[in-house]
Symmetry: D2
Subunit: 364 residues, 4 copies
């Protein structure tokens, strides 16, 4: 495929029509807010469950974000999550796994490129699981996918929110020194569970020591994310990882206590320099949703903190602090990033920007 050049921003009428699937939920609303003012995309369809079909967006959905309610799109009528009802070259999917499993292939078969926050296809070996700063080249799996499945469109996934913060925070170290082992303990925010999600009786002044399937997702997604593309396949990274995922009474922002064993020796200064100097493909391409820098290194010992740092870079910046030696694995640090933007809606949008720039999105 040939890369398209895109003036930025394009004229509104020339923007690419996109659909948001699952537009009424917590992540769906964030998709809508990001896309309502996007320089390259234009919201052409908001899709929700059949129950809501035909209703105005501001009637069917309880908007839960600060700022302009419904991002100015409250008058749009909801349509079915069906390619026929959504005239869009790109679909952003905030669907539940079970629904995504049915719906996303239909869009791909109809020619749309689906950027999905759902877990349904993340581990399929012909589906790119992408964090643009980490493994932009994995997008090339789309070719395999299109050939093998006969889809004119395709599916591109972003990882689980906890895995996303982890691999983005560690990308500078992986690139510079290689990573052999990872220990992760997470302090996850309430919004990671969607809405209504966790009952306030469970979370007020409490820690909930279990999040269903979360540790498993992190364990399987991270090796794929750090994997190498060899020919038309991804060879998972040979690393060992153990994750403990717990929920804490925080609204947005997953904090992660991380230890790593590197493949090569390095000093604290070299680690810090690798993080501070790190730039990824989105920064090189100056994609609209790319934060700069992608990973911020804090030197104050009490940072990052979710309440103070989570919204930096429209929620796309990943924060690293407390870089220090670890008696077991060599190095440890604390990372923090927005589970709802860098780990969900913003992740898919950044993937779409990367794919568009790379010529991976066929016009509808």
């Amino acid at each position: 495929m040939v890369s398209r050049s895109l003036p930025s921003p394009v004229e509104s009428k020339d923007r690419i029509p996109v659909a948001v699937l699952g537009a009424t939920g917590v992540v769906g609303q964030r998709f809508v807010r990001r896309l309502a003012t996007h320089p390259w995309f234009r919201v052409a369809a908001l899709a929700a469950s059949e129950r809501s079909e035909g209703r105005r967006y501001d009637e069917a959905c309880a908007w839960r974000l600060p700022g302009e309610p419904y991002a100015g799109l409250g008058a749009l009528r909801l349509v079915a999550a069906d390619p026929a009802a959504c005239a869009a070259a790109v679909a952003f999917s905030a669907l539940d796994r079970a629904v995504a499993e049915q719906v996303e292939p239909r869009f791909a078969a109809a020619g749309a490129t689906v950027f999905s926050n759902a877990s349904a296809f993340r581990m399929a070996d012909d589906v790119p699981l992408v964090v643009p700063e980490v493994n932009a080249d994995h997008l090339a799996l789309l070719e395999v996918q299109r050939t093998r499945r006969g889809w004119p469109g395709g599916i591109v996934c972003n990882p689980n929110c906890t895995a996303t913060v982890l691999v983005t925070a560690l990308a500078p170290l992986e690139q510079a020194f290689g990573i052999q082992e990872i220990f992760l303990a997470s302090y996850q925010a309430a919004s990671g569970a969607g809405y209504p999600g966790v009952a306030s009786l469970d979370l007020l002044g409490n820690v909930v020591p279990h999040i269903r399937d979360e540790e498993e997702k992190v364990a399987e997604e991270v090796p794929k994310l750090f994997g190498r593309r060899v020919d038309r396949a991804i060879v998972p990274a040979a690393l060992r990882l153990s994750a403990a995922c717990l929920r804490v009474p925080v609204v947005d922002g997953h904090t992660e206590a991380i230890s790593v064993r590197l493949r090569t020796e390095a000093t604290l200064e070299e680690l810090a320099a690798a993080i501070v100097g790190f730039r990824g493909e989105p920064q090189r391409l100056a994609l609209p949703s790319a934060p700069s820098p992608p990973v911020r290194l804090h030197v104050a010992p009490d940072r990052p903190q979710p309440r103070l740092d989570v919204d930096e870079g429209d929620g796309m910046t990943v924060h690293v602090g407390r870089l220090r030696p670890c008696a077991l694995l060599g190095w440890k640090l604390v990372a923090m990033g927005s589970n709802v933007e860098r780990g969900a809606a913003g992740a898919s949008v950044l993937n779409a920007e990367l794919a568009l720039t790379g010529g991976w999105i066929p016009p509808s």
Copy 2:
């Protein structure tokens, strides 16, 4: 020394007179509450800073515990933290490190046995650092201490709250299988910082990724706690430990995500059996503050939780849940215990009960 036999409870007039040093603070109040109704001890003196000397306890102190204010001792007059002002065979110390460093030796020199929650003498090689379920035999260091320092009394320390929960939770595994490596990530409660402690602006809906000196304390105290007594010294356990200590918006109860590498192979069932069957010296002696069981194993995947479990056994029970394999170290689990009871006031009182039963407390 000869062990004394104690009817339980002894007549009030025969109870051993004790002093509480630092009686107005968060831990001091918990000492007072525990001791006000203790079957063996009787509060003879409440000591505070010079500023409060001579004032009634209920005037000098803002009581912050549920239940009867001042535990019925509001009319007591505060005295100086000086052995001359406190006619007591036993002193419980909730003093700050710097004050403890000065004051505790004076009490020991005057004949009192000091049970201290302060960090000042924990790592001194002739001071027993004791969790009765873990290393009751370390009390014998008192002999060395008395000989070397010429004190008729002595100082017995309990560890940092985070270390206490850790070693109590792991004691069954250490005893049955031996522990080589420990990874710890803590989710620590606000009360661990004392009062006023952490500002609500810092902690509401937030995670604070740093607690001063906490990781260092855990790293140095745990090997001593798991150490073997050889002759008149403690040989620290040869284990490697890495701790990441973070603060979360919880009132009481430290949660800990722990991974361990054991010295001998074991199955999940063997680990569970070791925990369920575990009893320590306090349980064998049926000490008044001994919880039964000392370590509760939860099978529900979402337990333990601080808000639901922290007060079990008057805050002395340590909870373990989510026992499962760890890809890095072999096994992982979640532990939780009261930082203010098992990790502070209750810890010192249990030490005193153990010492008294073992004949380690000379009459005043």
Copy 3:
């Protein structure tokens, strides 16, 4: 009817068999915990929805209270909420309004006396709506109810949790001086909404300014509660009341900012004396669940606080503080009480104790 004399506690085998309807919910669990060790009652049946029928209590119910899980009754098999399945003279109802409307009359018709926390029959003019310290004599409505409806048993309701805290706090002033006008602003706890109730995303660090039907319930229940019994009917109190009910991030305990206009002049000292000296029928009868005192007056300006005071008297004590002049109505104060005990489970149990002592419960 003739009052029965009850030794306290009666032998276990002589205790009155009771059923808990809706035993798996938040209030149901509190009923179970209170009744498991009650000196007069014995849990004979736990009833839940049809879906759970036949299952063990500890399998069908996620126990959410501190202390012994399932209060030791985890092995009981759940039965249908049907009089035939519950051999009980007394039924405690934690049912939702719609279910209560169907089920409670069946129990009453079958001979059981139902003590209900549901709102279904609170305002029926032949149903006693009782807070024992406030209007114990309203129980006499049971006679009207039994005659009119032909029920051998009957239904006794306790009010909405917010109304309960309000009328108990104000009972001393109503009795001593009469109350003409009440302004109420509530700071309500999460547990008032049941489980799962309010989403943590809505309540963490937030105030939710609306609780469905709450202001209306308070406005209609308070006049009935303060009403006089004239012959066989209740004449509602002639008072004016305005309530603003808001939710705050507190687990248990409704705080209420209250202003009142009294019918007779009084000094601050007279008000305080009325509150301090207040005793109700439960205190005179020394009922097992009666707190003493029923209303605690705080003089510390920063009390009552839900986290420190909510559990006093097993959650049955109502707290009053900040008694001071009000420029609009004359006097204002802050009240606080447990919405889940004094305002729900404990309320029904205390009503049952009052009714039993008064001879209002026919044997089954």
Copy 4:
């Protein structure tokens, strides 16, 4: 004085030099953030206590706001809070009351116009206490003040945060219908107490029923704010007000449950229309910090909520919801506004913009 016309924004070099007094605290930081990018003002001096004099701002101050640390001014050296050290025509004061009492007059005497968030001079009868949407004409008191005190500069105060939200929310009703009586119960945020302010042990999952001096401040400031200027004096409004001020676990944003008795009859529709149509002097003048609209009326029953609405209009919008009848006073509503912006830093800045446009600020 003659009104100056100001291009907006003026060239940076032509901006008016301002000083921030108390620049390191919670409110001081918000002053700095607002002024760093202000179109009319330029930060010329940051003043703090003597202890910090000469230190860089980013070394002396722990920045606690989201966004760019130190608003880009971290390299500025702190100066003494002394007119000689601050070459500024305007001073914004975030000083404590006791310090403000000494320092603010010195600046006024030296020719600066001080816009103060401190309470020291609010009730002085020659000091304007101003919320621009409410009583912009009170600025004229400056003439009296300058004459009487012989100051070339002067002091302008903004009210207490709770009073500010109250009078702004009620301004539309006061103007259209007149207000006779106000009942207020507040749900105040932690940030209102400054930093470190309230201990997290006091506020986590709790309500604190007392805020020192707060009810008194509201009671005295509101009549002055709603007062009429007659000649060279303010005649306080003849209204009766009762306030109950409580603290809740919210970071930013005071919620207020308010009842009002109006002087003239009105329908719900007329009230709503008055609020929706309300514009004040800042909106007419299009001042840089003026929100539009100044008061937002919500129709969703569960709004406003501090977490969702507090930052609208850069924290300057005041929100009103739940407009409904009150059985006691006629009408009730819930208001919410940012205590740290509309109620503190933003308030002073808006006052300065108003004063500048009105020609009340002499050049330095």
